[in-house]
Structures are given as C-alpha cells and as structure tokens.
Symmetry: none
DNA sequence: AAATTTCGTCATAATTTTGTCACAATAATT
DNA sequence: AATTATTGTGACAAAATTATGACGAAATTT
C-alpha cells in the first residue's frame, strides 16, 4: 500500500530524529533535511505529501523555504516555532503555512496536528481493489462487498479493517489499534476495540473469522 | 470523461509549474512547453483546447508562435506579458490573441480569465450523451432529462453532477467537491455541499439514490 | 428596477455511530 | 473441577453525522 511521505526540516538533530521516530511509528514514510537548501532539493526530487519545518534554521529560515515551496506547490506545511508572538503567526499564514506548533510541543500534539492537516487537505492513499475470499474492498469507492453484496461499514469499522489489511498476518495489540484507528490522543477503554471487532466480524460474514483473537494481546487479520 | 487540454508556454520553470498546479487543481489536463518550438510541436501532436503563453521567450516570441498557430487553428490564446503598453495589446489582438494578462498577476485572476475565455469560446467537454437509468445527460446541450422530462439544473447542481459523473463510483470528500465545483479559493462551510446534494437528489427523481452518502467522508455517485 | 432564480446558512429532525456496561462464553491456571 | 482471567455479545443511551425545510442575500434574467 502506498505510504504517505512526510518531509521534516529541522536543524537540531535530536529533535529531528525524535519526530522521525514517531512519524515512522505512525506508519509514515519520512524524509529528513537539516536545512532549507537541502529541504528544497529533496522537495524537488521526491514526492512529498506534507512538510514539517522549523522556522529558525541556518542559511534559509522556514518562511523563506515555504515561500519557495509555495511557488510550485500547495503541499500542506506545518511550522515549528519557538516564539509564540502573534505577528509570527500572521507572517506564517501569509506565506501559506497551514498550521503552527509552538515549541516546546508534545509529540502527541504534533502527531495530532499532522493527521488533522492530512485529513483536512485530503491526502489519502491510492485507490486499490483487494479481495479476500468473498470480501472485496475498493478503497477508491470506500466500498466493501461481502459475497457480492454492498455492505456499509461505519468509519471506525472501515478504518479498523484497513489497518488490519495493511498489517495482515500481524498480531496487533489493542493499544496499537487504538493508536492508529482512534488516534494516539484517545483516552478510552481498551475493550472498545473488542466491540468494533465484534461488529466487523459480523458484517464480514463468512470472512469474519479472518480476524483471529490473539489472547492476551489483541487480534490478527489472516489472509 | 473528456478533460479540457490546456497548453502552457512559459520559459520560466517556476511560474510554469505554478500555473500548471493551479490548472490541475481546477481539473484541466495540462501540457507544458518551455519555448515556442516545443509549443508548436506539442500543438501539432496533441489536442489543445486553450493556450496560455508568455510573450517574452527565447528563440520565438509569443506573437510569432501565435501567428504559426493561427495558420491552422482558432484555439483560444491567452497571452502573458510583463509590459502593459497599449501597443503591445493591440499587436496581440492583431495576431488573434483572445485575452491578455499582465504580469504580475494572481493565479486567481488567471484562472478566472481562462474560465471566462473557455466559456466565451464555447469550449466544453465534448458533446456526450450519457444515460443512467432514466437520467439522460447531454453535455453538449447542457441539458438533463429525467424520465424523458427536461429538468433544469442550476449551475452548481449541474457542475456538481458532472463532477460526480466524471468520478463515478469514487468516494468524494466534501472538501474535494468544494475544491472542484466551487473552486479552490472558496472559503465556506463544508455543509454547503449537503444542500446541493439534497437539491440534486430531489431533481434526479428515482435516480437520486445513485448519490450515496459515504459516512464520515462525503458522497459517491454510483453507476 | 422588478421579478425570478440561485445559493449559502441555519435550525431542527432523522439517522447512524460509538462507547460502555453487564453478563455470557471461553480459555488458562491452579 | 474449580477458579481466575480474558474475550464475546446484546442492549442502550450519548454523541456525531447527515437530511431537510425555510429564509434572506446575492446573482441573474426579464
């Protein structure tokens, strides 16, 4: 499946690696640049779906880089800034910054912002058609057929199934599922997952038992 | 469905890519040329519905290229010029330039001019007659029949339906619909889409439920 | 400029989704 | 076999999302 590409532009290596790690854990494909020049080079040669960039950088600051990027692209940009002065923000939005995160920030906050922005700007994975027994999934149509019948899956059910499909034959803990499908900022019962699984299995009909219980851990989608 | 083909002739790559990006977002199929020779070559081999061309270019300037094109075609041409002197404009119209945009211009202005010119010169997506159950669409006449009855669709309704038809069986988010039907520079409520959908469904009669709600996302037109 | 149509927003209704809980069922352990 | 831990499931109410009618502003036509 197609992975979403994110470019991190941050001169402070520790912070860059930290962000990279969390983005990686969220399933993104991550590109790194430690300065603006490098960033623009990568941006020109790679397909980038979203940019996370520090304002303060040697050579070229974040705003200048954004301005360059905006000449050719409407890619979503999130700016990291140490200062939180109002005029700073205004300047940012002028250059077409889509969102703003003030340091220090929690990785959780940053992840939330990134996901929200991706959603807002409609960056999604490509259209695919998949088949598992009598279960057909058409991601472009966001439609699922069971035994040829159109089955309506709720957003949570759909997202959950997608997560399973993307990680077929892997045992996924409830926590992992919660993190990915509900978002890492979700504070709810682990067992919520069980309920969605129950509904999924039911709707999937005969293919329902592709979702195996992994006792003490969570679930596994088998292909 | 047939996409409108636009040829951009501009030697400055950054600007060319920028225009391309915006045209793409508006749903056009875009061809690029960085000079007059290349432009003529593409014009000969591709079907081009409209040309956007810079006057100032190496080798052959915009007027010369236009003259060449006019020998065989009445394709609408928009000229980009840095100078705004009157004689310039006159010379342009002499060679059969249809419209004129002076640099620097906003992408919004250029898009508006392009759309206006397409409308003026009656370039529409080809005349097609489509049938979906009792719903007949004649894009050439911009007319829709429901159950044999002539039904009047408002511009928004019509455009929206066309977007659906062009992307049949695809889940389209409200944002995507807004971007394409209302234009990327529209800042309004997501829910506006719902209202047009409501009106569409009503006018489409029995075929109204070809427009399916995709919960948490938007809508899908099913064929 | 008057009349008509279109369009966006809002309030409210209708519908669907979702999380939790209680209890049943099942598996693991003693 | 009994006990304990874990998972399955139906029910239900709250929350979220979508449908719809109404209304006035804006645009278009007459």
């Amino acid at each position: 499946m197609y992975q979403i590409n994110i470019l991190i532009v941050e001169d402070e290596e520790k912070l860059r690696k930290l962000i990279k790690k969390y983005l990686f854990l969220e399933g993104f494909h991550v590109h790194e640049a430690s300065n603006g020049i490098e960033a623009l080079k990568i941006f020109d040669t790679e397909t980038i779906d979203l940019v996370v960039m520090d304002v303060m950088m040697p050579f070229k600051n974040g705003y200048e880089v954004s301005k360059e990027i905006r000449k050719t692209s409407q890619v979503p940009i999130i700016m990291l800034t140490a200062r939180s002065a109002e005029d700073d923000k205004l300047q940012g939005f002028d250059v077409g910054i889509d969102d703003y995160v003030t340091k220090p920030f929690s990785t959780r906050e940053l992840m939330a912002r990134i996901k929200a922005l991706l959603k807002r700007t409609n960056v999604t994975s490509t259209n695919e058609k998949m088949q598992f027994g009598v279960l057909s999934i058409d991601t472009g149509a966001r439609r699922i057929l069971v035994d040829g019948e159109d089955m309506t899956f709720s957003p949570k059910e759909y997202d959950c199934l997608m997560y399973f499909v993307d990680n077929a034959n892997q045992a996924l803990s409830r926590e992992q599922i919660l993190n990915r499908v509900w978002g890492f900022d979700y504070f709810g019962d682990d067992r919520t997952v069980d309920t969605v699984i129950k509904r999924l299995r039911k709707k999937m009909g005969i293919e329902g038992d592709r979702i195996q219980t992994v006792r003490g851990v969570g679930y596994r989608f088998e292909v």
